[in-house]
Symmetry: C2
Subunit: 153 residues, 2 copies
């Protein structure tokens, strides 16, 4: 008999990851590294357009500076015991005022609109190249659901 | 009148941070950087001995390797909208079998005991040098509650 403690299949993990990616008003844990090898971590609201994670931040904060310098970020959504962990590459950084559909997607999924918020803001577009999804230790095996940018299921 | 939307005082934030640090069966988001400037992020169960965050991990996983090389980690506990964010320095890495009181503290606060778990495990002892605590945007101001290893409240 299957119980809630049984590990999920890859297809189930992928479906759940896509649900989490599409959640409204949700935040990601965004980890980046400076050129000096110092890790930064901060929670940021996200949107997902089917291919890219969209974040919004100030252009001079560590996340924007690190990702611009290094081109990569590691991003977690969900919770510590229901994780979707993504290794991402930077696709682009866009000023919010001229971001068009990206800004619409972000405002629709998130609970704020940086275009209407004081100060200078940019969108950071990150494309996942590897995704892992697991809940507890029994799901560490089989946690890989995307590799080299391709869903495995 | 105070409402739940009013920003907390520094003393309230410190008290809450200490509560979160002492939670049983809780996990931290642990962010480290490799010497090559690649960020790593992973959720790990933690304990707190009043001065140091205690994590347990395999000696060859990225968190252990990065923290050994760089001596630092950025660690978040709580949730994305109730964050305690810590910049930490590595104090030591201990094999679990000979860790004495550290192992006892970890087993008491966590929901597993690496001493009784197959394979090689180490404790990573991280000392916070800076701590920030905030919930929503209205608490970004005043979020600093520890600086240079000293509580501000």
């Amino acid at each position: 008999m299957l119980t809630s403690m049984d590990p999920r299949t890859g297809a189930e993990r992928k479906a759940h990851a896509r649900e989490l990616l599409s959640l409204r008003h949700a935040d990601a844990w965004v980890s980046t590294a400076s050129n000096e090898g110092l890790a930064h971590l901060v929670p940021l609201s996200y949107a997902w357009d089917g291919r890219r994670i969209i974040l919004a931040t100030r252009p001079r904060n560590p996340t924007a500076l690190n990702v611009q310098a290094g081109g990569r970020a590691r991003v977690a959504i969900g919770h510590t015991r229901d994780v979707v962990m993504m290794d991402t590459v930077l696709e682009s950084i866009l000023p919010v005022k001229t971001a068009g559909e990206v800004a619409e997607a972000y405002a629709a999924q998130g609970d704020w609109d940086p275009r209407e918020t004081e100060g200078e803001w940019v969108f950071i577009l990150l494309r996942p190249v590897a995704i892992q999804a697991w809940r507890e230790a029994n799901e560490l095996e089989g946690r890989e659901i995307m590799r080299e940018g391709n869903w495995l299921f």
